[in-house]
Point group: C2
Chain length 316, copies 2
């Protein structure tokens, strides 16, 4: 089959990759894969990975251990878990100690004609949700993880730093809480998208220090982190929604003196994400910046790395 | 009056300091002051401060705007607050934006014959609590701040790193929760004190990574922080109970991937601390390593800075 292949930080297009064969899993024909920051960082060598990348996908089940799945349009949770380790048994399967992760760790991903996943990872897509919307289920679930972890109320002042691929979805989900939300966006295209959803923009120079109840840091940069610390009120909550390349230097004492809470936030719940797409409370399709064929996957990665580009889809 | 005086990181004993005169505050004759890590760091120049240091005290009210306070044995909350700023009005008076802090910021402390504090800062000491126990009220309250911030249950595995002045009190308060507590202590004297209270010791080499629900870091060292991160399970909670001199370098991505929560923890509630002393659920008096007269205050600081020394009292 055709697939993109990552090896030694070099991405290539191949047409001779064997079709995956996992009789205990569903075989899924891929329709779209969305590129995210993790994919770009993998190509930069930030994660060691050899194989087919890609994990935000929509597809159709073509073979399955249970007949009724065949023909279903599906999205899929990316962590394939053991159910045996302490994390699984303690109700934290996304933190499974033996997990493989679709297109990220010990498991080929979705930038290919086919992929496989266990049935338990799959979610059928509601009929009224288009493929172009459904491909955002995984990052939308990640955005929703924030409100799984912290309770944001209408009166809360919430600052989101960063309005890229994930930031846009975070902004839309935070807006649902009714909170007093403001977003720092860098690029005009990002600002237009937010304005379309009536989400308030704020520029860095207008940030009053010590005045925000929550700050969500979605840039993965030290400058974003420093701004977040400055903006937070004492006993405020900082949600880290990006990973940070290499080590980060912080003045930790200020976190202690001001009794700040910092929460790392990763994968989230697919069910609620699909429900928000079905009820159109979140509309991600405006985020699509470009679409490429699988054969043009290298150009797709190049495009996704350009400044201010939002979501790039790779379609089979 | 006699007092210790800190100026340009140099501590001296003086006998010609004017007795404080604040008609709106209580005038308190100091009996004991306990030396803590903050005092030692102030002398090192970690906080800029000129004046009389000292903030963990027990004393007797000799003058007061309200007659009924005169003659009372008291301890006192160290943050003197404005009641006007956003933090005060939002129920976070210990984070008052205009606060002065006894012997730490814009307010002379208690290493003197007398100090003053507003009546609202004072707590009468229950009759059965000795001066030697009551002088621990402030650090015991700081230890209790942890269980104000996080809910620790009997089934929780809680690791405390550090068993110095504050660590010993943290250990005793954490033990009250019934949790599965283990403490990393460096010095034999610290270990003996913990064993007396039947608190389990553990050595660093026996720490299973990824297996603790809570870690309380009370060393203020980078190595303590690294051990804490290693020990915590995914979605575990790290309580920072020490300040960290200068900047700290961290791999923040591991906090995001494992969805770790980090909480800074500072001053705590005096009422519950006095109640624990009165009911003898916490017994701090075993922590007193040495006692000095105010005239020998410089020797007291020198003693407090020795390795493995617990609480040093300065008595008037």
């Amino acid at each position: 089959m055709k697939a993109l292949w990552l090896e030694n930080n070099a991405l290539s297009f191949k047409s001779d990759i064997p079709r995956p064969n996992q009789p205990n899993e569903a075989l899924i024909r891929i329709v779209h894969t969305g590129l995210c920051g993790t994919d770009l960082e993998m190509v930069k060598g930030y994660y060691p990975f050899t194989g087919i990348p890609g994990h935000e996908f929509v597809g159709e089940v073509v073979e399955a251990p249970e007949q009724e799945w065949i023909g279903k349009r599906v999205v899929g949770e990316i962590n394939v878990v053991c159910h045996q380790c302490e994390q699984c048994r303690s109700g934290r399967p996304t933190h499974c100690e033996n997990r493989s992760v679709l297109g990220i760790k010990n498991r080929h991903g979705t930038l290919a004609e086919f992929t496989t996943l266990p049935l338990e990872n799959l979610h059928p897509i509601p009929e009224t949700v288009s493929n172009e919307a459904a491909v955002f289920t995984e990052p939308l679930a990640a955005a929703l993880e924030i409100t799984q972890q912290v309770q944001i109320r209408a009166a809360d002042r919430v600052l989101l730093i960063g309005a890229g691929r994930l930031g846009q979805l975070i902004a839309q989900t935070l807006a649902l809480t009714g909170c007093r939300l403001a977003v720092i966006a860098r690029h005009d295209h990002q600002k237009e998208l937010l304005s379309k959803h009536k989400i308030r923009l704020i520029s860095e120079k207008d940030i009053q220090p010590w005045s925000w109840d929550f700050v969500v840091e979605a840039t993965g940069s030290t400058s974003g982190l420093e701004l977040a610390r400055k903006a937070l009120r004492p006993r405020g909550i900082l949600v880290l929604k990006s990973t940070y390349a290499g080590d980060t230097t912080l003045n930790l004492s200020s976190f202690v003196v001001d009794e700040i809470t910092v929460i790392g936030s990763r994968c989230g719940p697919f069910g609620p994400a699909l429900q928000l797409l079905e009820t159109r409370k979140v509309d991600p399709t405006g985020l699509i910046s470009a679409e490429f064929r699988l054969e043009d996957g290298l150009a797709a990665f190049k495009k996704a790395a350009e400044r201010g580009i939002c979501k790039v889809l790779v379609s089979v």
